[in-house]
Assembly symmetry: C2
Homo-oligomer: 338 residues x 2
Amino acid sequence: MLATMLYGPRDVRYEDVPEPEILKPTDAIIRLSATCICGSDLWPFRGLNDVSAPMAMGHEYCGIVEEVGSEVTSVRPGQFVVGSFCLSDNTCPHCRFGFQSSCEQREFMTGAQAPLARVPLADGTLVATAELPPDDLIPSLLAVSDVLGTGWYAADAAHVQPGTTVVVVGDGAVGLMGVLAAKQMGAERIIAMSRHKTRQDLALEFGATDIVSERGEAGVARIKQLTKGVGAESVLECVGTQESMSQAIECARPGGSVGFVGVPHGVQLDGQSLFFAQKSLFGGPAPVRRFLPHLMDLVLERKIEPGKVFDLTLPLADVAEGYRAMDERRAIKTLLRV
Amino acid sequence: MLATMLYGPRDVRYEDVPEPEILKPTDAIIRLSATCICGSDLWPFRGLNDVSAPMAMGHEYCGIVEEVGSEVTSVRPGQFVVGSFCLSDNTCPHCRFGFQSSCEQREFMTGAQAPLARVPLADGTLVATAELPPDDLIPSLLAVSDVLGTGWYAADAAHVQPGTTVVVVGDGAVGLMGVLAAKQMGAERIIAMSRHKTRQDLALEFGATDIVSERGEAGVARIKQLTKGVGAESVLECVGTQESMSQAIECARPGGSVGFVGVPHGVQLDGQSLFFAQKSLFGGPAPVRRFLPHLMDLVLERKIEPGKVFDLTLPLADVAEGYRAMDERRAIKTLLRV
């Protein structure tokens, strides 16, 4: 089959690879209904993460089960499933504690920018729908797999409560999903920090009440101004740079919480500054599996439409152009038709 | 009057100073019933914090109100009061959010190792008892002012819940109070990390169920062994060094929480490590004022006896010996009779 491989910086190839097979009795093979490109795929694409060997790209997925290993009991061929980008057994102590992204058997999904993909730990990773969903819901169901689940976790880790003020740092797809999550969790005021018109518009559509286009110190000053000098109860850090993390911490009120889901690159935190700032910090890879059933229900009941975050749709064969469009910020997030 | 001044490293003097006076209409003057030496007093005593001018030492206090400023309404002369080491107005947004230690008007108490002390922001800082407490409760009421309030906050910030496992890093007075707090909050298993017999014994008396004498990597390995490889839901970091902070983070389970109350000295945290560790970090100067009424009630009802943490009692005139005894770890915490 033809699938997506990354050979090195900016070298994405759509090329012939062997079809995936059941390697372990806990595996499943799924036929992708759609797939997409993640902001985190841009780190190796930009050469910021090492690529020592060709990498099978893609970790966001939903589709129809083709085949299951002999030990798989919770899904069967023909069912529509969504899975988390973190593969988990969903039975170990960390999974049972709600942190499937720290599963004792954790692996990260790969190879989903393809027509077929192997999903290890299928029982602990995949959630099936009762019936096949209508086509128009596929983008939103795909979004649950990572980008929405991650934005949701940012809001969860930042302890978003009804009636509170939330700041979202980062207007990428995850940040926009963080806005949607904060809205669903009942936040009264949701301030999206964004300087791009299309992203601002989408943030407003997802529930943002205010837009702040300033960054850094000016951005923090604006947040303070909007909150009568107090700061926000919850801040969602959805970038992962030193600047964005500092900005997030400074936007929170004393006693407030920062949920950080942007994988930190070169971020250092001074213990004493964090102490006197008196702000809670909690993040990590999102335990999407915990949220999957709830988020899939919200999509199936048409209460949320996270699929709107895809502003570019391409055939899978044009995956390299999808990477370039996101790299050059011409697209927020690229959906790939399989 | 004679009071305690620090002139420089190891230079504590008990010397004649002017009696405190009402300087602002929101001040109170109290006559100390007892006072004590804090672990944090040892930082400047050891020369680890700068002492540029002679410092009036002492920030833990309880006693009888002598005089109040014209605007003070909540306490009156003759009442017994306990106050927080953080002075707060208890009306600003941060105070109302429960973080009086980040009060917009925050000051830190000084000059309490003396017969009389000035307490600024008296209305927002002091809590009076209904009647004068019996003498034998004075040490425990004094402990509420900082050391118990701080240990309590560590447990609060680490989200201690009934039935969970808690690790306490640090066997100083604050760590021992953290053990007591975790016990009161219903923790099922409380593992105190301590290598000193007298402190181990006190930890067990306060509610520890296990003692781990190893430190660093060996300590973490022992905690993992005791928790079937999982780690603890809550870890209380009560030291403030790089080693103790790393140890605390590693002892927590993924999704678990570290409450840190040891003022960090030279502690640096790597953002990416913290991300993949997936542990919540929350600390700062304790908002003791939030906890004061509840903790004073627990003492007055004789449900807790935090005053047991004082294992050396000296007359105030011997304050310098009190510092030396704590510095040389001959004493856990020194109570000073006024």
